[in-house]
């Protein structure tokens, strides 16, 4: 079936020492050009991705990306520049461009490198680098397998959007003029499949994917195909709903998005701009009292792990929310200084933020809800971070007496984030860990569903 002859694998990465040398060259150049401080990040990534469709190869892509980013400081003024070229001439030009910008920006008392006492000293080994000896032939075989299983699952599955397999490796080295330098090597592999089912009412599409740092931890390709098929089949016959107020269960993958919006509201950038619906809520109950959210940056092999953040600041485990009460913010050095606080080691985002699961699975949550809406897909942005007003397109299932009654589509779900967080009634134990936020499904009391 596979029609390819590619034998090269995803290519090799340069060593950490090679990139460390480039970071040092950048920092030296910044010093030479008169910067009082500087920081630089250099990264190289390599990857292979294949896409198949209807039993044939669609695309074979070889990726190789490089980037060099530098920030220079002249006292309290900053300039940044980036390039994909690591040559000495390019390093000089990139630093020059950053310095030229710093000559025109204003003095800003919050500007500067992370405070030296917050920089990581011991860098824990988080086991994030597991290259996959995958060539295009093998990748194609796996993708074809996922798609074959999905297409063969039921005669109502009539078409395919394809299946894909990807493998990426990367290394990133960060250093600054206060003496910090550290590198992280990581891999990320995935298998995905999306198929289309149709009946006399029209077509539906749905998908499944698996992603992991370790190739052997990926779900088998046939499971990806089977789940994609199951997801799309149950959407056939989708109806609309009349406008009503009902409880809503956000399936785990959607619940992760909901928590992502909460994180956006307690991020430093939103807070110091006063562009958040959670201003001045530190120490206040913002969630229902059973909710605890713990950040675990040092989990071995996890997708959101990081030994230090994008500024070299040590990451550490902490409760962001405990017993429903907001314990801290999500800050980098700049926003922390703007708020008169200390960085929380979140330059670059949160690290494996876990909503502590309840003891019920998804079926148990639906039983607890009784009658209401299960949301399995959301569309559009529709969240006003300043007010918390929430209104998004949705598809999913109408649930009666704790049982799925029929699929629904072309409806919206609306409320206000502040109320939704306080009205969270339960979390499932079906924790989805395919990202930096880990959550099971979430049951929220009463939201407005608009439809016919």
């Amino acid at each position: 079936m596979a029609e390819t002859l590619i034998k090269n694998t995803t290519g090799t990465l340069p060593g950490e020492s090679e990139l460390t040398l480039i970071v040092e060259q950048v920092l030296d150049e910044a010093r030479r050009q008169g910067a009082s401080d500087a920081e630089a990040a250099v990264s190289v990534g390599t990857g292979l991705s294949v896409q198949v469709r209807q039993g044939e190869v669609d695309t074979v892509e070889h990726q190789r990306d490089r980037s060099l980013a530098v920030a220079v400081y002249f006292g309290l003024r900053q300039g940044t520049a980036s390039s994909a070229d690591f040559s000495p001439a390019s390093i000089r030009a990139t630093v020059e461009a950053a310095c030229a910008i710093a000559r025109h920006t204003s003095e800003d008392p919050a500007q500067g490198l992370a405070d030296p006492d917050r920089l990581a000293r011991d860098i824990p080994e988080l086991d994030m680098y597991h290259p996959w000896a995958l060539d295009a032939d093998r990748a194609i075989t796996l993708a074809l397998e996922a798609e074959r299983v999905a297409l063969g699952a039921d005669p109502r599955i009539t078409n395919s959007d394809g299946a894909g397999v990807s493998s990426n490796s990367g290394i990133r080295v960060y250093g600054n003029s206060r003496g910090f330098i550290g590198g992280v090597r990581s891999t990320r592999h995935g298998i995905n499949c999306m198929v289309i089912a149709s009946d006399d009412q029209g077509m539906q599409r749905d998908y499944w994917y698996t992603v992991n740092r370790v190739p052997g931890e990926l779900e088998p390709a046939e499971d990806v195909g089977r789940k994609a098929a199951a997801n799309v089949l149950r959407r056939l016959g989708s109806r609309r709903l009349g406008t009503r107020k009902v409880p809503v269960v956000f399936q785990a993958s959607m619940a992760r998005g909901l928590l992502g919006q909460f994180v956006g509201a307690v991020r430093g950038g939103s807070l110091y701009r006063k562009a958040s619906f959670l201003l001045d809520q530190l120490g206040q109950p913002v969630f229902a009292d059973w909710v605890t959210l713990t950040e675990r940056p040092h989990l071995s092999r996890a997708l959101g792990s990081a030994p230090f953040d994008h500024e070299g600041v040590a990451t550490r485990q902490r409760d962001l929310v405990a017993g429903g009460v907001l314990q801290g913010y999500v800050l980098d050095s700049y926003s922390a200084r703007k708020l008169g606080m200390e960085t929380t080691g979140n330059a670059g985002g949160v690290h494996n933020l876990l909503l502590h699961p309840g003891d019920k699975d998804l079926d148990g949550l639906l039983a607890e809800m009784g009658t209401g809406l299960l949301v399995t897909e959301m569309m559009g942005q529709g969240v006003n971070m300043v007010t918390g007003d929430y209104s998004r397109g949705a598809a999913g299932f109408w649930v009666e007496g704790g049982e799925i009654a029929y699929p629904v589509q072309e409806i919206t779900v609306a409320g206000n984030m502040k109320t939704m967080l306080r009205n969270m009634r339960a979390a499932g134990n079906d924790v989805d860990i395919r990202g930096a936020i880990h959550s099971g499904s979430i049951l929220v009391d009463e939201m407005t569903v608009a439809g016919e």
Binding site: E61, D161, G393, A414
Partner: protein, 479 residues
């Protein structure tokens, strides 16, 4: 176009010593008997951005990127590799990787190099050089001051200014060379206001394929500042949006995001070749009311979504998608056009050399209809009047789409009354335009702010429409 090709050769080929014989060497590596077509996409881009916040310019950044994407197509199969180094060894290596999708030995069929056709919709200049750093900073400060001058309730103003100088050259296995030098500028203002503990925001902006002086003409930049402040202040008064299905009147200009989501994506050639679009196989059928004529037009001078040539070297054009309600055509890139036995419509676009091209929109808009906008409002007993939007999204297979209003009002007894909070509108692409019962005569294009995402690739686009009425659309409010 000759000027663009000269600039592109100088920028992209001269440093690496690439000439026609080197290109021939690359293509002879790339072509195999089963390779139908192949192309090289050379690109050099330079981008800057400046951000003002808290009344000071606190951030500036500068980015340089260049590289070459190498693609070989065999039937429905595509092999792709790229390099961020434009040098012969990297080009040859990428060519070997890309052609590995096809079996068979070397083939030497190369045609004589010739220059492709293209338009002259914008000047082949570097917009970053059209103002000094001092002038750029002065512009940001004036915009900030203008926004703060609007009302004492203005608390925070964020102004960003960005410019892109993009030089591309496409060489394909037909022997065609074509180049484009693409300037693009953008200015954006966000205003936060507060009153009695209630906070709201508003934002406005614009731009296009111009130099930065565009923002000084006709007081445009200051106009964005006033508009952002006005929107934020309107939102302070907004009551809960209604929930349910009702008549919706959409204002002119940016609300054309309706067309982009409801029908635009569903009419892209790749989805229709694969039969995965809700519009697949429906050319010649009625998909809209008789008042609706919708085009995708890449040939408008200086527009954000316009291109002299697309990213496959094809001259852009104005493609009629829907004519008086009847579906007329799809938007095509070369590969999907060939497989569907159609012609490329100049819609082959890519985010960069590191991405594969696919059919994408340029400027998508609806032509004027017969109705007076005031008459359209008067015709509604109870409904929503939505004049500004955030983004939208579509599921092209089921046809369901959303777009989120950021400024909207109730219509009661034929009059626009109270402002309501932002709400998402949801509908079904293949039938929403059949419910368009009135189309105004006030067609406007957006101010130059659109970014379209597809398969992880972002490209600048434009939208537009006259005021129009949809008899029934679902509004996702709470009351």
């Amino acid at each position: 176009m000759q000027q663009s090709l000269d600039i592109a050769r100088e920028t992209l080929f001269a440093p690496a010593g690439i000439g026609e014989s080197e290109l021939e060497q690359v293509f002879s590596r790339l072509m195999a008997p089963s390779v139908d077509t192949a192309d090289l996409y050379f690109q050099s881009s330079r981008q800057e951005s400046w951000v003002l916040e808290d009344g000071i310019v606190k951030q500036g950044s500068h980015n340089i990127d260049q590289g070459v994407g190498v693609r070989a197509i065999s039937g429905e199969k595509t092999g792709f590799a790229y390099s961020d180094d434009i040098v012969m060894p990297a080009l040859l290596e990428a060519s070997s990787a890309a052609r590995a999708i096809a079996r068979g030995g070397q083939s030497g069929s190369l045609k004589a190099w010739h220059q492709g056709r293209g338009l002259g919709l914008y000047a082949p200049m570097d917009p970053l050089e059209t103002m000094s750093a001092e002038q750029k900073i002065a512009l940001l400060r004036e915009v900030d001051a203008e926004a703060r001058r609007q009302d004492p309730r203005v608390e925070q103003v964020i102004v960003s200014l960005s410019g892109l100088h993009d030089v591309v050259l496409v060489a394909d296995s037909d022997g065609r060379l074509n180049a484009d030098v693409r300037p693009l500028v953008r200015l954006n203002v966000t205003v936060l206001v507060a009153q009695n503990g209630r906070r709201e925001n508003g934002s406005s902006g614009g731009g296009g394929r111009y130099g930065y002086e565009y923002f000084l003409e006709d007081g445009r930049a200051l106009g964005y500042a006033r508009e952002a402040a006005r929107q934020a202040l309107v939102n302070l008064e907004a009551v809960d949006a209604p929930a349910g299905t009702m008549p919706v009147v959409l204002g002119p200009g940016w609300p054309g995001v309706l067309l982009h989501e409801a029908i635009g994506h569903g009419l892209e050639g790749d989805f229709n070749r694969k039969g995965t679009s809700a519009f697949s196989g429906r050319i010649g059928e009625r998909v809209a009311s008789e008042y609706c004529t919708v085009v995708d037009d890449g040939t408008l001078a200086n527009r954000r979504g316009s291109l002299n040539i697309d990213d496959e070297g094809e001259q852009t054009q104005c493609t009629t998608l829907i004519e008086n309600g009847i579906l007329r055509g799809y938007m095509q890139d070369r590969m999907n056009a060939r497989l569907m036995k159609m012609q490329s419509t100049g819609n082959g676009r890519r985010e960069s050399y590191a991405h594969l091209p696919m059919p994408r929109m340029t400027n998508t808009y609806m032509l004027n209809g017969p109705h007076d906008p005031a008459e359209i409002i008067r015709s509604v007993d109870r409904g929503l009047y939505a004049v500004n939007f955030g983004g939208g999204q579509v599921d092209i297979t089921s046809g369901k789409f959303v777009f989120s209003a950021s400024e909207a009002y109730l219509i009661e007894n034929g009059k626009v009354t109270r402002p309501v909070k932002g709400a998402t509108l949801i509908g079904n692409g293949p039938d929403v335009l059949t419910r368009v019962s009135m189309v105004g005569n006030d067609m406007a294009l957006d101010s130059g702010i659109g970014v379209c995402g597809k398969d992880g690739q972002s490209v600048p686009v434009g939208v537009g429409q006259p005021t129009l009425k949809v008899d029934a659309l679902t509004v996702g409010g709470t009351s």
